[in-house]
Symmetry: C2
Subunit: 245 residues, 2 copies
């Protein structure tokens, strides 16, 4: 059944072309009334305000007063539009070199900037999962790896270390407050708390921990707590590598 494989491969090729290919404008024919960048921006706006599920070709095209099919003159399909949305949403990678103090504060800033992206675009995580990284996304990865270049980490250790930090950021993404200040977990957060308490026999430690939440210092910042733990873990390894030399 080569059909499916071909289809997947051509889909991949289309993504690569859209993400990495340089646009060549034709010299003939009418002038385009739209642009790829404009379409992507409009799609991002829809996703930001109404969620990823609201992003349909019709919805995006209607924002311009164009027909659905007009978008296909600019983008091969919805999947590729999503690829472009993702890479546009991350934006230009940050330059961390001016941050003093070595790899640790740099990675910390990187983590917070990454979190900012997740906060600004709550649809990002689900959309970017299991998808090819575009130029901007790879640029962010480069930034983080570059921050660790001063250490003796190398090869897969470098990538794995960045992934540890990134993993924490991604973990906290669903809990990050969005711009509206509304409970980002929607309503199910409270519902889960209720179920935990209603079944405290099945979840005794959990129920206790939640009940004890009030005891935690009021200003407790989960994100910073976990970030420092993760950086501590990396630092212990980096220090041990240094002392071995």
């Amino acid at each position: 059944m080569p059909a499916k494989k071909d289809e997947a491969a051509s889909g991949l090729a289309r993504s690569i072309e859209v993400l990495w290919g340089e646009p060549e404008r034709p010299s003939r024919g009418p002038k385009p009334g739209l642009s790829v960048a404009g379409i992507v921006a409009a799609a991002i706006a829809v996703a930001d305000s109404e969620g990823l599920g609201a992003v349909s070709m019709q919805r995006v095209a209607a924002g311009f007063g164009f027909t659905t099919m007009s978008l296909y003159r600019y983008v091969p399909g919805k999947s590729e539009l999503l690829d472009l949305m993702i890479d546009a949403a991350v934006g230009e990678p940050p330059d961390l070199r001016s941050i003093p103090g070595g790899w640790r504060p740099r990675l910390a800033v990187w983590a917070r900037l990454t979190r900012d992206c997740f906060v600004a675009h709550p649809w990002f995580m689900p959309a970017a999962l299991n998808r090819m990284m575009g130029p901007n996304q790879l640029g962010w990865l480069e930034s983080a790896v570059a921050a660790l270049a001063e250490t003796r980490l190398a090869g897969q250790e470098l990538l794995a270390s960045v992934l540890v930090v990134n993993g924490w950021v991604r973990s906290m993404a669903p809990f990050a407050p969005d711009r509206t200040g509304a409970d980002p977990t929607g309503d199910w957060g409270a519902a889960m708390l209720h179920q935990i308490n209603a079944h405290s026999d099945r979840f005794p430690t959990l129920a206790t921990a939640i009940g004890a939440g009030a005891l935690t210092p009021a200003g407790f910042d989960d994100f910073e707590f976990g970030l420092q733990r993760v950086l501590d873990g990396l630092q212990a390894y980096i220090d041990s590598r240094d002392s071995v030399s």
Copy 2:
């Protein structure tokens, strides 16, 4: 615009009912030819073998030789079916109490078991994102938190610590080899490596790190590497808390 809110709220109520309500079988009428558990298992089988996108009401019902609409006698809708799939896929939470050595080896085992779930059900991560946790999923959380009960962590620190470990597992999920041994990243993994090398001017550190990948010890296990870093970070904090007492 209360319609949307009502809709969301009722959707939440339906999820809660399906996940936490106890099934009451009616005494009248014909005997059911299907069961919720069977439907959920069939849906999981479809998702495991053909991906989450292949899970449609029609596809699942066809597996039984029933019509699409028959499923709606057992499950309120697709969203709730997904809720059930997720909680069934995680399965019964593990009992870590018999594992010697304290919280650290217990959390390590918990992390590996969690990873096993992601490997067995590659659709799990995307599906479970931003969704309510069911009884089994909360049970797993309880297991992990219970493993940390021997420490002096409390309240949000407990949950955040578990989340740090969980974040790492989730980070590695896309890279875990599946049962077929095929490259889990599909084909885009290789494509990304190619782009990194093709644009090594934009991603110098990255290109170097990947090129140096061959220098990394052959048996390097990214998952275990990151897991130990994360546990190191937690341990440092736990030890510091202990010594303060």
